[in-house]
């Protein structure tokens, strides 16, 4: 299994001042699969995401991408190796337009960003491709609007467009449908279903219907550890998972 996995973690640990948020997680994400991470709040899903993308350094364990050790690499290098991510809390450049966001992402792999002596008009070479991507996520009409003026669902769509602009091998989506209305959820699920071909998607998701519609494999985390892993139907019926969720619900009361 480990040999085939595109993205894998072995014994991943992350400590925060005496609190172990991720506690010895093993994860194998198969190529061309959609892999969902679920679990109650505080299970360590977002911490795991931040470890996988270099935003946090692991306290222990290794991370491999396509057979290459990427443990401890800074986020920009992980991104350059083909891992794109979205953020749980919408993370955009408020004053740039939607099109400028995508252009900035498209420009990233080239050296153009260093050309401080050239005109920004050179970035127009990305305009066509940016238009296609914005069209894909349903933002074609809002291409020139500054990100801060977009409605919430549109911002999430823009996040996806930026991640896709990097043409990543692995797409990590942190709660892509969080806070969305039903219509936007459907649209996002359709979109992920469309862009997943030829790509590997890892997503943190609370909405079980979304997980059921998209995920090939589901990993359930609890208290920083892997509780169960397997296909959606199997995981959903697992006693331990039901207990974990009910337990978390009880604790919340």
């Amino acid at each position: 299994m480990a040999g085939q996995a595109l993205l894998s973690a072995r014994g991943l640990i992350r400590d925060f001042r005496g609190f172990r948020a991720v506690d010895g997680v093993d994860l194998d994400v198969a190529p061309d699969s959609v892999h969902a991470l679920v679990g109650p709040n505080g299970a360590g899903k977002t911490t795991l995401f931040n470890l996988l993308t270099g935003f946090l350094r692991p306290s222990g364990g290794r991370i491999q991408l396509a057979g290459r050790d990427v443990t401890g690499l800074p986020p920009e290098q992980v991104a350059r190796l083909g891992v794109a991510r979205s953020f749980q809390i919408t993370s955009l450049f408020p004053q740039l337009s939607a099109r400028e966001h995508v252009e900035l992402a498209l420009q990233s792999p080239s050296g153009l960003g260093w050309r401080f002596w050239r005109s920004a008009k050179l970035m127009r070479r990305y305009t066509d491709r940016a238009g296609e991507l914005l069209d894909m996520v349903g933002l074609a009409e809002l291409a020139e609007a500054p990100a801060e003026a977009l409605a919430y669902g549109r911002k999430r769509a823009l996040e996806l467009a930026i991640a896709l602009a990097l043409d990543p091998k692995v797409l990590l989506l942190d709660e892509p449908t969080a806070g969305m209305g039903l219509e936007d959820v459907d649209r996002t699920v359709d979109l992920i279903a469309r862009v997943r071909s030829g790509r590997t998607v890892v997503m943190v998701e609370h909405n079980m219907s979304v997980v059921g519609r998209l995920a090939d494999t589901v990993t359930v985390l609890q208290a920083g550890k892997v509780l169960v892993e397997g296909p959606y139907e199997q995981v959903r019926a697992d006693e331990r998972v039901i207990t974990a969720y009910l337990g978390a619900a009880d604790a919340a009361h």
Binding site: T53, F55, P74, P75, E76, Q77, A79, R80, A84, R85, F87, S91, L92, F93, P94, Q95, L96, S97, R99, E100, E103, L104, A105, Q107, S108, P109, L112, G113, W114, R115, F116, W117, R118, S119, A120, K121, L122, M123, E144, A145, P146, E148, A149, I162, L166
Partner: protein
């Protein structure tokens, strides 16, 4: 020309600009008209002011634009830019005195030294953000100040470097009026360079880093290296200003490295408008002119007046003079088109 981020032409901006930058984008003819007015003013300046004051305004304009490149477009507040302004002033002075080279060559040597000094300082400083970045830059600037103070054999300590020549192929530039026109092309080149940096693909990345560094990193941009490059470019432009200042005054004193010089640069930028580039030029003109007027009128507590104006601007016009005017004009323009 008024705007900062190179936004698409005629992009509808439904919300008023927020944060550090006015994203107003005036139509083409307005920008060319402003450019023409700016150039004509620059050409006329020593006829309307004391030429020595006009020379100071040019030098400080470069300094302010250099600081705004970091403060307005990279989101870094350097509180130690006197290190680059002052180092360049000393190197320019020393090169001009001891080697007798034409002053533009001396100024270039000074600016390059300032840029070289910005590499290690920037390397250590860009790992910090916010107030910690300001403190690291201040600490290094103080270090440079004390080195200059102690290294008397070279810097002449408190006596300063005297008699910096205004050599330019034997031309007589002793008169400040002619010297102004001799340095004007260099200053315009420096300002044009800053404008180009801001409106380059690099400048676009800087604005991204300023607004959301985590997102920029997730896109694959090495944020520290971008900030360092901006820091070095800023150091070079500040150095251009400092070198010209040294030749302009024919004298370099420790004041050029003092922390109040760094502070004044920040005040000039805030007064003119952070993230507006040309606001810094305006701020420099106002502060230098005002200080000259106050000192001429025999008023002692100059800092009290400039400080008071600074507080007023920060409280009432948070976008600075240029930013506030640009926002007003944009609103008027948008209303008219409706």
């Amino acid at each position: 020309m008024t705007s900062t981020v190179d936004t698409p032409a005629d992009a509808a901006r439904p919300t008023p600009p927020s944060g550090l930058v006015t994203v107003a984008r005036a139509p083409g003819w307005v920008r060319y008209a402003l450019l023409a007015v700016g150039l004509l003013t620059a050409l006329w300046l020593p006829n309307g002011l004391y030429p020595a004051v006009a020379v100071d305004i040019l030098c400080w304009a470069l300094f302010a634009v250099a600081v705004d490149l970091l403060l307005g477009f990279t989101g870094l507040m350097s509180f130690g830019h006197a290190a680059f302004w002052g180092t360049s002033a000393y190197v320019t002075g020393l090169v001009a005195i001891h080697l007798g080279l034409p002053f533009p060559v001396a100024v270039l040597a000074g600016a390059l030294t300032a840029a070289a000094l910005a590499v290690p300082i920037g390397y250590l400083a860009v790992k910090r953000t916010g107030i910690y970045f300001a403190m690291v830059t201040l600490a290094f600037a103080q270090l440079v100040y004390y080195v200059a103070n102690e290294w008397r054999s070279v810097t002449r300590g408190e006596n300063g470097l005297q008699g910096v020549p205004r050599e330019l192929f034997g031309l007589d530039l002793r008169d400040d009026y002619y010297f102004y026109y001799a340095i004007l092309p260099i200053v315009l080149l420096g300002l044009a360079a800053a404008w180009r940096i801001v409106h380059s693909p690099f400048g676009r990345v800087l604005v991204g880093i300023r607004d959301n560094p985590a997102r920029a990193r997730a896109l694959g941009y090495p944020v520290h290296r971008y900030k360092l490059t901006a820091f070095v470019l800023s150091g070079f432009i500040a150095g251009l200003g400092g070198g010209l200042f040294a030749v302009g005054h024919r004298f370099v004193s420790l004041d050029v490295l003092h922390w109040t010089t760094s502070g004044k640069a920040v005040i000039v930028v805030v007064l003119g408008g952070i993230g507006t580039l040309w606001g810094g030029v305006l701020g420099a003109a106002i502060v230098v002119r005002l200080e000259d007027w106050l000192s001429f009128s025999g008023f002692e507590a100059i800092g009290l007046v400039t400080g008071g104006i600074f507080v007023l601007v920060v409280l009432l016009f948070r976008r600075g003079i240029w930013g506030s005017v640009a926002a007003l004009v944009t609103r008027w323009w948008a209303a008219r088109r409706r």
